[in-house]
Structures are given as structure tokens and as C-alpha cells.
């Protein structure tokens, strides 16, 4: 089944249509050209020499289509300028979970995809050797063809593909030594740019299926609330509205276009059973945090005896920090097209979790998972939000109810008010310094809603960024309170690091000040046994000119993070003049192991900084009586063109296996800016977003 889907989707390329996202009806009568060949799950070669690479991950801007293609093409030896890419369906060939979370695409593909490329190449070489009747050692693959080194005869991949596909796959292949890389390690332009500048890229929201209707959903403004009763008479009078269907999350208004559905929703009358979350407000959450900060939590890390060390320390420092709920707000509002039939279900979606999407559809329809086809489309941003399958389930529910294909679209208000948020969080941090001002004890009490499961009372997603600091402090205690308020929470670009790195790196700066140390000097000393983070810090500090004098009113701040298998240092330069904060410059240095695509790394480090800076300066979701108070971008603003700092990205050369990159730079920007504010003004920012009253 999967093969046939791949074959059909391949045809779009063979027939010269749009490369990706072009819809062909499921029951296409077209058949593949007879000499096209799938050499493995990732490599398809057409008799016309078209090389199609199957990208089993998904693209939300992070550059996966390009970087994974580089891994395949490096070993395949195809012509980089002639490759095409496709997103395949969900298949066990691609492992137990298909999705893009945790900045893991390169890390999990580094060996398998180079191996897949090499395997296909060896089969093509073997086919050429057999054709010529020579030994394989006489044949070399290069630029989309196999050359006979004795005769200089040449056979294109396309002319060999069908023979190669009949050969046994080699049991093992030898991968290139990095010194032989031609593509990997070179700054490489994205493969998806052209269609993104002429409006032709098909995002999920651009999917058009014959007979498709459009739906929007009215959900209870209070989390967990249910439909009590409703009156849809005015809704049904709106031109274009077809019907109103109750689904598990609310009431779906189905119409022949999105706008009519939205208009119908506007006049829908609903009585909600709001449920218990209606008593929750941000002020109460903060109070609850503060109360729990006085009580011991579940222990997440214990080195030495922090309590004893604190009791005898020459100097003791204590601070509390707080960060808000945050929405993801990807530019493409959530949406999904679903078509449920009695015996099959199709889902077209911009999703970070193809397997989760398939399983959600299977559960709702009662179909076996293999009866569900997921067609992955480009995402207009994800940032963790699209790892959830809630919006996919909604579309499947509606299509199942109406028996027709439907596109379900969220408004921006839905997006901001019905998110799975980055949890609000609170930290009570304590440290002890010795006579010379060096830290000897560090104690952190972290409090936030958990997700991803508790182990011994601790959610990894809630403590990462504090529990795994690399600083050599002999006595460390980290404990945690899991407080659940019924506000949905989940992954948000860099997850727990997004708040905990702010806590840890701001507080470390406090220790430097209290001990009379330079923030760089303190960090370098405490990282003597963490060479990769130490090197990233030295590089960033050097490029930022750490020791150079700044104009009055300006300050520099450092922050570090070790997450997703990478090590990132940032130095921010800010000014505060007449109460107005300006972030002028950010210098980042990252050791992400082997740099597969330095151009992509540069983009992602910049992107992560802007994402984190938006949150640090402006981001905050607040709750009143169980409802989110922010409705649209006027109340949930993000960084704008004129607020951009100058960003410099430096990559630490490395032969280590690649780390992740998409979430590397988001955690560090808030503390780097906060520390720079302290350097400029002497004011310590201990809550986010940064407020003007905290600068004066």
C-alpha cells in the first residue's frame, strides 16, 4: 500500500506537475513508467534520471528537506541540481515514530540516510558492472551516472535504475570519511525556496480536494468545558453554511467556504458547561507557585549536601523567578483536511507528528492504522504545536460525521486561546559562595505544570535546563512540584530549557555579581571540565569583544545552554535609554557537532534567537476565569522588523556526531538579554516578559 502511494506521488514529478503537495486523486488510474525504480525507502530513480528523495520527516522551516537530502545525496552521488523531494506516508520502513520533535532529524538520520544513499549507489554500480561485464571495482558513481573507469563509458542512474532495483540490497556499505564529503559541511541553499517565493508551495491549508467542504469549530472558552445546549438556527441561515455538527471539542460549522463557516460560527448560540477550570486565573496560579516554593518537592538532582553547604557558606543568595504561559502562534493557523470513508481514511496535514496523526485518525474512525493515509504537507511553522494531533482529530471527526472531505481551519483566536502552552513556571533559587566568592552550593526549587509523564514525581520537561547544568558546583539540589491547573501544556520550541535556562543563567549572573566576579570568568572557571560548552563560550565572548568598553547605557550579557546534543553560547548587547530597552547585537557560537549544512545552522540559530526574543520582550498568555485573555496578534505581539538585533553566528568546528539545531539558540537569548540589562543598569530582571517597570 505504501509503495503504491509512493509510486503515485512519484508520478506527479514524472508528469511534470508541481513537485510537492500536488494532489492526485486516491483512485488514480495512472500507472508508473515501466522502468522507474524504488531502490529503498528513501531513494527513487526514474527512467528519465529524476532522482526523488523521500523525506520521512517534515518541514516546518527548519531546513530538514535540504539537510536530509544532503545526507542521502552525499553517498548516492546523484546530481544535486536534479533531485526532487517528496514526503512519504507513514510506514514502518521509517521507524516506529515519524515526526519532527526535539531537534532530532539530523541526529537520527545521520547514519541511516547516508547508509540508504550508499546502498542505492552500490546497487546502481552493481547493475552497471553487470551490464558491462566488469568488476564493480572498475566502476565509479559520480554526478548521477556510473562511469567505467577502464573505458570511460557512462550509464546514467535512470538507465540503470530498473536493473538495480532487482538486485539484492548489499548487507553492508562503507560510508565516506568526512574528508571525502562533497556536500555535507558546505553551506547549501535550501531546496524549497523557489516555490516559497512564488506562492506555489502547498502548505496544509492550501490542500484542495474535490468535493471538499470547510469547517471551523466553536470551542468552550474555558479549558475542559463542554457543550451544554446550543441554538444553530441563525448559523444555518448564513449563506453557504451546510450544517452544524457536534464533535468532542465543540461545535463544527460546516460550509462551502471558510468565511461562511466563520460567519456561521459568529452567530452560533452555545450554553457551555464550563467545568472546574473556570476558577483558575493567572494571579491564583502565581500565588500557588509561591506557596509551593516554601515546601520541598520531588528530588530531581542531588550532588553533595546543598543544605549543609548553604548553612556554612560565607555568603548566601536567594531569588525567585517567574515566567508565563506562552503560545506557539505559527504563522499558518492549524488546519487539516480529512476524508473518512467506511473502509479508509485520508488525512492531508501540515504536521510535526505523522504517526500521531495516523493513530489519532485510526482511533476516531475505528479503522486499522494501515487504512489511514497521512499526506504530509509543508508547515507554516510548528514550534512544537503541530506535534499534537488534536486539530487532526477534529477534522477526522467532522468528515466522519458528514461523510465528505472537509478542511477544518482554526482562526488566530482559536490558535492563541486553545493552544497547548509552554507552561508557566516559577523558580526559587538559592546559592552559597565561599570566602573567595566562588559558588559552593546551588539549590533550585522548580514549579510548573508537568507534561510528558512523571517519574518519581519529576517531569523531565519541567526540570531540564536546571537539572543538567554543567557547572562544577560541588553541592547541588534540584527539586520540583508538579502543579496541574487544567491549562493544556506541551512542547514549545526548546521545551523546559525555554524557562529553566532563563532561571539558571540569570541566577548564575547574580552569583557572579555577589561574588565580585566577571560573568565570563565565573563561567569559564566552572566549566573547566565541560570542554565543548567552554569552547563555545570562549568563541562567543571573543567574537563579541567581551572585554571591550561599551558606550554609557549599554551592557553585555552572556548565557549558555547545553540542549539537544549541542552547546550554545550567546552574548547580547543592549541599551536602556529613557526606560526603553533596545537589543543591539547578539553573538552566538554553537558546537552542534558535525555541521551538516552551515547555512541551515546559521538560519536556525538566528530563527531561534528571534523566537526566544519575541517571548522575552513580548510573550505572555494570561488566564482569567479559565479563559485565555489574548485573542490575536494585537495582544500577543511578536518581534518586528525594526526590533531585530544584528545577529552573528559562529560554528565551532567539530568532528563529533551532529547535534540538534532547531532549538539550540532559543533558551539563551532571554537570560543573555536580562544579564545585559543588569550590566547596563544594575536592574535584575527576574520575570518574563521583560516589563518597562523592571528596567527603571
Amino acid at each position: 500500500m505504501i509503495t503504491s502511494v509512493n509510486r503515485r506521488s512519484f508520478l506527479k514529478t514524472a508528469t511534470g506537475g508541481l513537485l510537492i503537495g500536488f494532489y492526485l486523486p486516491e483512485r488514480s488510474e495512472l500507472s508508473a513508467a515501466p522502468n522507474d525504480a524504488k531502490l529503498n525507502a528513501y531513494v527513487h530513480i526514474g527512467s528519465d534520471d529524476t532522482v526523488t528523495l523521500f523525506i520521512h520527516k517534515a518541514e516546518m522551516g527548519q531546513g530538514t528537506v535540504t539537510s536530509l537530502s544532503m545526507l542521502l545525496a552525499e553517498e548516492l552521488e546523484c546530481d544535486w541540481n536534479k533531485i526532487r523531494t517528496e514526503f512519504p506516508g507513514v510506514s514502518p520502513e521509517y521507524g516506529p515514530y515519524q515526526g519532527v520533535v526535539g531537534s532530532a532529524s539530523i541526529r537520527t538520520s545521520w547514519v541511516p540516510l547516508r547508509t540508504a544513499g550508499a546502498t542505492a549507489r552500490e546497487m546502481l554500480i552493481e547493475a552497471a558492472a553487470q551490464r558491462w561485464g566488469v568488476d564493480k571495482s572498475r566502476c565509479r558513481a559520480e554526478n548521477g551516472a556510473v562511469t567505467n573507469t577502464a573505458s570511460n563509458a557512462r550509464l546514467s542512474f535512470g538507465s540503470l535504475a530498473s536493473e538495480a532495483a532487482k538486485l539484492p540490497r548489499p548487507a553492508s556499505v562503507t560510508l565516506k570519511d568526512p574528508s571525502q564529503f562533497r556536500l555535507i559541511g558546505k553551506p547549501t541553499k535550501r531546496l524549497d525556496t523557489h516555490d516559497k517565493v512564488n506562492g506555489r508551495t502547498t502548505f496544509g491549508i492550501d490542500v484542495r480536494v474535490p468535493g471538499m467542504l470547510h469547517a471551523v469549530v466553536e470551542r468552550c472558552p474555558v479549558f475542559g468545558g463542554k457543550v451544554g445546549s446550543f441554538d444553530a438556527s441563525k448559523t444555518k441561515a448564513i449563506p453557504g453554511v451546510k450544517q452544524v455538527v457536534q464533535i468532542s471539542t465543540g461545535l463544527a460549522v460546516v460550509a462551502d467556504n471558510t468565511w461562511s463557516a466563520m460567519e456561521g460560527r459568529r452567530v452560533l448560540k452555545v450554553q457551555w458547561d464550563e467545568g472546574t477550570v473556570a476558577s483558575i486565573s493567572s494571579a491564583g496560579i502565581s500565588k500557588d507557585f509561591a506557596a509551593h516554593a516554601q515546601m520541598p518537592g520531588a528530588v530531581a538532582r542531588k550532588d553533595g549536601d546543598a543544605a549543609a553547604s548553604l548553612a556554612t557558606a560565607a555568603k548566601k543568595i536567594e531569588s525567585v523567578y517567574e515566567t508565563p504561559f506562552l503560545a506557539h502562534a505559527p504563522m499558518e493557523p492549524l488546519n487539516c483536511v480529512a476524508h473518512v470513508r467506511p473502509d479508509a481514511c485520508e488525512v492531508w496535514a501540515s504536521t510535526q507528528g505523522q504517526t500521531a496523526a495516523r493513530d489519532a485518525a485510526a482511533k476516531i474512525t475505528g479503522l486499522a492504522p494501515e487504512k489511514v493515509q497521512v499526506y504530509t504537507r509543508f508547515m507554516g511553522g510548528g514550534f512544537g504545536r503541530r506535534a499534537r494531533a488534536d486539530y487532526i482529530g477534529e477534522a477526522v471527526e467532522v468528515s466522519k460525521a458528514i461523510g465528505q472531505p472537509v478542511q477544518l481551519t482554526w482562526s488566530r483566536e482559536d490558535d492563541l486561546q486553545q493552544d497547548f502552552y509552554r507552561p508557566a513556571a516559577y523558580a526559587r533559587l538559592t546559592a552559597g559562595l565561599d570566602q573567595q566568592g566562588w559558588p559552593v552550593a546551588f539549590s533550585a526549587r522548580l514549579i510548573c505544570p508537568p507534561f510528558g509523564g512523571l517519574r518519581d514525581g519529576v517531569a523531565r520537561t519541567a526540570v531540564e535546563g536546571v537539572v543538567d547544568v554543567l557547572y562544577a558546583i560541588p553541592n547541588i539540589l534540584v527539586d520540583y512540584h508538579a502543579l496541574d491547573f487544567g491549562i493544556p501544556v506541551s512542547y514549545w520550541r526548546s521545551v523546559g530549557y525555554s524557562q529553566n535556562t532563563f532561571f539558571a543563567e540569570s541566577f548564575l549572573d547574580e552569583l557572579a555579581a555577589a561574588g565580585g566576579k566577571d560573568p565570563l570568568e565565573l563561567r569559564l572557571r566552572l566549566l573547566a571540565n565541560a570542554p565543548r560548552l567552554h569552547a563555545a563560550l570562549e568563541l562567543a565572548a571573543d567574537k563579541a569583544g567581551w572585554s571591550k568598553t561599551l558606550p554609557a547605557g549599554h551592557g553585555r550579557g552572556i548565557a549558555l545552554v547545553n540542549n539537544i546534543g549541542s552547546f550554545t553560547a550567546q552574548v547580547a548587547e543592549v541599551s536602556v535609554e529613557r526606560g526603553k530597552l533596545r537589543v543591539h547585537r547578539v553573538v552566538a557560537a554553537v558546537d552542534c557537532g558535525y555541521a551538516v549544512n552551515p547555512a541551515g545552522i546559521d538560519q536556525q540559530i538566528r530563527s531561534g534567537i528571534v523566537f526566544g526574543l519575541s517571548a522575552a520582550l513580548k510573550g505572555g498568555i494570561t488566564i482569567d476565569r479559565g479563559r485565555v485573555q489574548q485573542q490575536n496578534f494585537h495582544q500577543y505581539d511578536v518581534l518586528r522588523m525594526e526590533e531585530m538585533p544584528a545577529i552573528e553566528v559562529h560554528i565551532v568546528p567539530s568532528r563529533n556526531a551532529p547535534g540538534g539545531i532547531g532549538e539550540a539558540s532559543t533558551p539563551g537569548i532571554a537570560p543573555a538579554v536580562a544579564n545585559a540589562i543588569f550590566a547596563a543598569t544594575g536592574k535584575r530582571v527576574r520575570r518574563l516578559p521583560i516589563r518597562s517597570e523592571d528596567l527603571a
Binding site: E59, M60, G61, Q62, G63, K189, R190, D192, T193, H194, K196, V197, N198, G199, R200, T201, T202, F203, I205, D206, R208, H214, P239, G240, N257, T258, W259, S260, M262, A329, P330, M331, E332, P333, F378, M379, G380, G381, G382, F383, T409, S411, R412, A599, Q603, R606, S607, G608, V610, F611, S614, N632, F633, V638, L639, R640, M641, E642, M644, A646
Partner: protein, 159 residues
């Protein structure tokens, strides 16, 4: 319902739609031109920007009735082959990441360039302020606008 006639990407277009229906949804759902994006529905993000009589306009808050007799250009009509200086510069600078906001960014930038052949950084800030990018491509957008101005100057194009 109202019959509205206008020029769309150089060709006459007639639609029969509720007069209050925003141009955005007419383009996307009625006419199938999906290059223009829905982002906020309130003229707050710029993703839906098109040109009406040469001016950058947020199509999400533009009732179709107000478009009667006017000339509308969408990303699909900016050039046939991504050859507009802005698009060429966007390709040279590899601007898009997720790419979703880029139709609107490009349409806003193209309108700026049509009006201001040598846009300064301040001109760019002013023109592009209303176009949100969550991937944070602002610095490459700025570089690409400067580059597009250079392309236009060196080639003397009239676009």
C-alpha cells in the same frame, strides 16, 4: 450575493459572492489561488497582502464588494516565473524558512520597491513593520530588499 468584476493578475475576473466576503477568502476558497495566506483575519500580520491598484492591501479585511473595477495582483501574478527583482533577491538570499508569511512579505516589499527605488533601512522598517515572520527571517528580508533594489538599478527594469 453580488456579482463583482475586477482585474486579477492581468485578466478580467467575475465572482458571485456575498458582498462582505473578504477578498482573501474569495481568492483562496472561490478562485483556488492559495498563494495568498490567512494569518490573523484582522489585518495584524500581513500574510494576506496583495496589491490593489498597486497599493499593498490586507485582503483579509477587504470586502470583495470594494474591489469592483479595481486591479488586483497576488503573489501568483507578481511574475510568471519568480523573475520579479524581489523574488530573485529572495532566492539569492535564501530568505524563506517555513515560508508561510513570505507571499505577504514579498508583496509588501514589491510595493515598497515600486514606490521607493533606493529604500533606506528606515524605509524598510516602516514598510515591513506590519508583516510578521515567526521564523525570524527579518534580517535576510532586509538584505534581500536592498539586493532587489540593486538588481533593479543595474538592470533598469521598470517593474
Amino acid at each position: 450575493m453580488a456579482v463583482v468584476k475586477f482585474t486579477l493578475n492581468g485578466k478580467p475576473q467575475t465572482v458571485d459572492a456575498p458582498p462582505a466576503m473578504p477578498l482573501l477568502w474569495v481568492l483562496r476558497d472561490t478562485l483556488g489561488l492559495t498563494g495568498t495566506k490567512f494569518g490573523c483575519g484582522m489585518s495584524l500580520c500581513g500574510a494576506c497582502t496583495v496589491h490593489i491598484n498597486g497599493q499593498p492591501v490586507r485582503s483579509c479585511v477587504t470586502p470583495i464588494s470594494t474591489v469592483a473595477g479595481k486591479t488586483v495582483v497576488t503573489i501568483e501574478g507578481l511574475s510568471a516565473d519568480a523573475s520579479h527583482p524581489i523574488q530573485r533577491a529572495w532566492i539569492e538570499e535564501d530568505v524563506p524558512q517555513c515560508g508561510y508569511c513570505q507571499s505577504g512579505q514579498i508583496m509588501t516589499a514589491a510595493a515598497l520597491l515600486a514606490k521607493t527605488s533606493h529604500p533606506s533601512d528606515a524605509d524598510i522598517d516602516e514598510a515591513m513593520h506590519g508583516n510578521i515572520c515567526r521564523c525570524g527571517t527579518y534580517d535576510t528580508i532586509r538584505a534581500a530588499i536592498h539586493r532587489a533594489a540593486e538588481i533593479r538599478r543595474t538592470e533598469g527594469g521598470s517593474r
